[in-house]
Amino acid sequence: MEYLKAFIVGGIICAIGQVFIDKTKLTPARILVGFVVSGVILSALGFYEPLVEFAGAGATVPLSGFGHSLAKGVRAAVADKGFLGAFTGGLSATAGGITAAIVFGFIIAVFFKPKDK
């Protein structure tokens, strides 16, 4: 059941992205920015956490979940350290993902060449 929920909720969030691709002239980077910022806002308003509890990875794997992690990190850091936390919370909570992207990006780039299409 947990898996089915992840599949369906994740699928729906991605399908929303597809609507933006097909129906607007937004570039992929703009769509991604939209998802992350929406994730931060939805999380701030308290809507995203219940979605994560319901759908698990279905809500955390899409980039809106990345926004949720940023917001959650900030919330915890502000509670802990006060004003300073507003600056440290976001990136601390998402450091793993960003670092992994840099590290694997570098390693893959060292060993692979882009192919013709």
Binding site: I21, K25, P114, K115, D116, K117
Partner: protein, 340 residues
């Protein structure tokens, strides 16, 4: 010496012909409907080079080499090279010409470059020059990384998008030699109808093509039916349909004799190129490898070839500018005497 008639058409008065032409392509072009018309197909689109930019230069070199070989000429017989491509600062052309020791005139007309180069070559050959080499190229991979996304980036292409041809074409344009003949050239004006969608270049270029073509008909008092073939450079499915509509509105409806290189190079159904081919290499290779040889074989008697260019850069698109287009026309004929 060429002289101007009407508003912007140059009539080539002397005898100027295409001594030889050659087309170079890669795997996808070889698998297309015109695959057998290419002189050189290299399945490795890197052409043995380290970077895509060098590969593109290599294609130009190969196209020039093959065209000269067919004419039994040498690089030292060439008076001027007119060459262009899509890369920043036209590096593919400049780098391929750097070994030639021939005066080099670099051109940027986006995808309109081949007709621009052939047109200028013809005008030069009609005055002081004997042999001019017109070359243009594009490479899917070097164009993608400069204008769009990295090759391995996963994205979907909208149905109006076009596929940059990995191809080069070269033509040796000579005074009093060669066949078919270049009879007239019309260099086009820059036209902008407010299209700002980078994925719909066909629509951005169609008004320029229609403007140049209709101006040519007005200048020469001829009609679309007077020619066996009217072929645009890379308007693709979307742009070619708009072209027909625009020409109809201008009072020069195009019939069955109209086609577009962007629709000829690939099989749109099977090769996933959406609206069709694009890039300088598209019209350069289709004209050099397919249309000019058909004229030479007598299958066509008179042809109007237009190359069409979208004059944008990544910077102008990001700054929200619209995309102007330009189109240049070359009139080929198998008649030696004057036809206008």
């Amino acid at each position: 010496m060429a002289h101007k008639i009407g508003k912007q058409t140059l009539i080539i008065d002397g005898v100027v012909g295409i001594r030889s032409s050659a087309a170079v392509g890669s795997k996808k072009e070889g698998e297309g409907p015109l695959g057998k018309d290419f002189d050189i197909i290299n399945d490795d689109s890197r052409f043995g080079e380290k970077t895509w930019e060098k590969a593109e230069s290599k294609m130009q070199e190969l196209a020039c080499w093959k065209a000269l070989k067919k004419a039994e000429a040498e690089m030292k017989d060439v008076d001027f090279i007119f060459a262009g491509d899509l890369l920043n600062q036209c590096i593919a052309s400049a780098f391929s010409a750097r070994g030639s020791k021939v005066p080099y005139i670099g051109l940027y007309g986006a995808c309109s470059t081949f007709a621009e180069a052939v047109g200028l070559s013809a005008v030069f050959a009609d005055s002081a020059a004997k042999n001019c080499l017109a070359v243009a190229s594009s490479h899917f991979c070097s164009a993608e990384r400069q204008y769009r996304f990295p090759l391995e980036y996963g994205g979907q292409r909208p149905p109006s998008a076009q596929w940059t041809a990995t191809a080069a074409g070269a033509a040796l344009v000579s005074k009093e030699e060669g066949f078919p003949f270049v009879k007239a050239v019309t260099f086009g004006t820059v036209e902008d109808f407010g299209i700002n969608d980078q994925n719909n270049m066909g629509a951005a270029m169609a008004p320029a093509a229609a403007e140049t073509l209709s101006q040519f008909f007005k200048d020469t008092y001829t009609d679309p039916e007077d020619y066996d073939l009217i072929v645009t450079g890379d308007l693709g499915f979307v742009g070619a349909n708009l072209m027909k509509e625009l020409m109809g509105r201008k009072g020069f409806p195009l019939g069955e004799n109209y086609s577009d290189c962007g629709l000829m190079l690939y099989d749109r159904e099977k090769q996933q190129v959406e609206s069709g081919a694009s890039g300088c290499g598209c019209s350069a290779s289709v004209l050099s490898g397919h249309v000019i040889p058909m004229l030479r074989d007598g299958m066509l008697k008179s042809v109007l070839a237009l190359s069409t260019g979208a004059l944008m850069s990544p910077t102008s698109v990001q700054q929200g500018e619209t995309i102007p287009g330009v189109a240049h026309l070359v009139c080929f004929s198998s008649e030696k005497g004057g036809i206008f």
